[in-house]
């Protein structure tokens, strides 16, 4: 099969063998589960349980405002174990801001009792719409890291190519690798279901980086020639959606369009398995496979973790190292972010936790001025000019930054990684992007305020005029009735006089 290349990219030291050789183990049931009401991109959900309610594993506890979420950018949240709701309050959530957000806190009872599930015996008898509805109810989001609701991608029309993403290019992370080795049949079955939901795609490709030969082997055997399994070169960021599309099809997807516009849909291998389990066993998304790695834990490994499990509990299960934990990163070392402590829950998009003691952290030298070497431009996978973007973001010249397509940047961190002056380039881009987004939001709000103000002025004017008219009318009608009354009285007296006169004449 012909493969293409994307521009730039990096060969990184994988650090994958730390966690890639031990089997996926189920994580213990924690005493407390903290489930944020927003774990995906899109509309937040609202709690549909009360404090004190008993919940079962798989029960819907957070739901969007509408009765049916399947056409909205929202997915329900399910209880990930059985127990009692003890609080619905703001708790710290794993987010770069370190802020709190609404969460449902469940005290588990240790029984892990499932709610009644509705498996589908033979999915091929169902229409794509029915299956889509079933998948939307299972709360599945893109588990590669972005958290894009899966049913939105699956409702795309006229898709020719389905890509199952098993590239897993970020260092340290091995959950996709382990999953492909241990559950290849689930992934293949999931891919077939997804293909069915998309209305039968012409092509279905599973892409695996060539540093995971065992995973490739397992998938090829399980696929039995029914779909293509392709080895792609190991190069960061091959696992990026648009980069993988470029490698496999040679097509470039613009920033403003979704891959679906080009007839392509990409799903992660874990998402494919989640779809399979939702259909085959009626199992909503309540847990995921994730990597806990780094030298800060005695046994780096992959675990099947219930959402809402606190990181502290997970680190304890993996064996807390003797040295103090200096740094805790959620996600990969390139695109993840550091957390201030361990009191955060695992959410749907948590694919990795890197626990590092002081001796594992390479001290990055302090930044120096940009020397315009251009190394960043050579590695940028989307062909941007990172140093220009850096100047404009630093100078807060956001119009210029947009002219240089700052929103095409995928935050991959290649530029910062090769920068000889160690400038934290991605921080500047994130800052500029956030500012531009916020100002466009402000602009929208100003427009609404303007409309409301104009309507108010119009309304006051209208009310004033209406009142005036009413007064005028009242005056007129009262005048008219007065005149009529006087006239009638005059006529009456006139008639009386005439009568009196005629009586006298008689």
């Amino acid at each position: 099969m012909k493969l293409w290349q994307f521009h730039g990219g990096l060969k990184l030291n994988g650090h994958k063998s730390l966690s890639s050789e031990s089997q996926i183990t189920p994580a213990n049931i924690p005493p407390l589960l903290v489930l944020p009401l927003l774990q995906h991109i899109g509309e937040p959900t609202e709690a549909v349980v009360k404090v004190g309610d008993k919940v079962l594993k798989g029960q819907v506890i957070g739901h969007c405002r509408e009765k049916d979420c399947s056409f909205l950018m929202s997915t329900p949240i399910h209880a990930s174990s059985s127990g009692t709701v003890v609080a619905i309050e703001n708790c710290p959530v794993p987010h770069p801001s370190g802020l709190t957000a609404p969460c449902i806190v469940i005290e588990t009872d240790g029984e892990d009792k499932w709610i009644e599930r509705t498996p589908i015996a033979d999915y091929s008898t169902l229409s794509p719409t029915q299956l889509l509805y079933h998948i939307a109810k299972a709360g599945i989001v893109g588990l590669g890291g972005a958290g894009f609701p899966a049913h939105i991608k699956l409702s795309s029309k006229s898709i020719e190519t389905l890509i199952i993403n098993g590239a897993e290019c970020e260092p340290y992370i091995t959950c996709d690798d382990r999953l492909m080795r241990e559950y290849p049949h689930d992934i293949i079955a999931g891919a077939q279901i997804i293909s069915h939901v998309l209305g039968g795609t012409q092509r279905c490709v599973i892409a695996v980086e060539n540093n995971k030969p065992e995973a490739y082997q397992a998938l090829s055997e399980a696929a039995e020639g029914q779909l293509e399994v392709v080895l792609v070169p190991t190069r960061y960021p091959t696992g990026g959606e648009r980069q993988l599309i470029q490698i496999l099809t040679g097509k470039e997807v613009g920033r403003t369009e979704l891959p679906a516009a080009r007839g392509i849909v990409v799903h992660n291998v874990i998402t494919a398995r989640a779809v399979y389990r939702a259909v085959q066993y009626g199992r909503p998304l309540v847990s995921r496979v994730m990597t806990v790695t780094g030298k800060g834990v005695e046994k780096p490994q992959n675990l099947e973790v219930r959402f809402g499990t606190l990181m502290r509990f997970l680190i304890d299960q993996c064996g807390r190292g003797k040295a103090r934990i200096e740094r805790l990163i959620m996600g990969g070392p390139m695109m993840g972010f550091a957390l201030p402590n361990e009191e955060f829950p695992i959410i749907k998009t948590t694919n990795c936790l890197i626990v590092s003691p002081a001796d594992e952290i390479e001290k990055t030298p302090e930044p120096m001025p940009c020397i315009r070497c251009g190394a960043c431009a050579q590695v940028c996978p989307v062909n941007l000019l990172p140093q220009q973007l850096y100047w404009y973001a630093k100078a807060k010249d956001f119009n210029k930054a947009q002219d240089y397509h700052i929103f095409d940047c995928i935050d991959c961190g290649c530029c910062a990684h090769v920068c000889p002056s160690h400038i934290p380039l991605v921080s500047y881009y994130r800052y500029a992007k956030a500012e531009i987004r916020a100002s466009s939001q402000e602009h929208k709000q100003a427009e609404i305020a303007k409309q409301r103000h104009e309507f108010r002025t119009f309304r006051l004017e209208r009310n004033k005029n209406e009142r005036k008219e009413k007064l005028q009318k009242m005056k007129e009608t009262s005048n008219a009735s007065k005149e009529a009354a006087i006239k009638a009285a005059l006529e009456r007296t006139k008639a009386k006089k005439e009568q009196v006169a005629s009586n006298e004449q008689k």
């Binding site: 957000a101 305020a449 103000h453």
Partner: protein
Amino acid sequence: MMTAIALLAGLALIFGLLLGYASVRFKVEGDPVVDQIDAILPQQQCGKCGYPGCRPYAEAIANGEAEINLCPPGGEAGMLALANLLDREPKQLSVEHSVEPAKMVAVIEEKICIGCTLCIQACPVDAILGGPKLMHTVIAKECTGCELCVAPCPVDCIKMIPVPQAVTTWKWPYPIYKLSVITE
């Protein structure tokens, strides 16, 4: 000689007619400069500039009656945008207009509210809901934080609080780091 004069006169007549027709046919309603200025202003309608709302201030700027540095909610960025649009010299925000406050939202302490409707009449964007002798409340989503409702309240039950930071509105901060010293 005569033909040249006749020709030029004829041309002048033709172009004059053309221009006359165009000015009628393509007449611009309203003042586009005012619209452009209005689009830059933050539309809080707070009146801190001394004009009753953003539109009147925009008109005053367009007529050259007002300076461009009178809008505190617009801040320095707004002033610079105005300077850029009108090709005027950027001017420091004047002292009484220089406080660029954090985004605020009005909150009515509902226990104290007596339902006098004075704040409803003051709100420039109809963001307060209520009726005579009934409790009032602020529609937080529509409140622009202009503070115009605070003064009219006879029982002082309206407070301005900063808009709480949420995960969805959080912004990445400007990166600040120390440059390393190469030579002492």
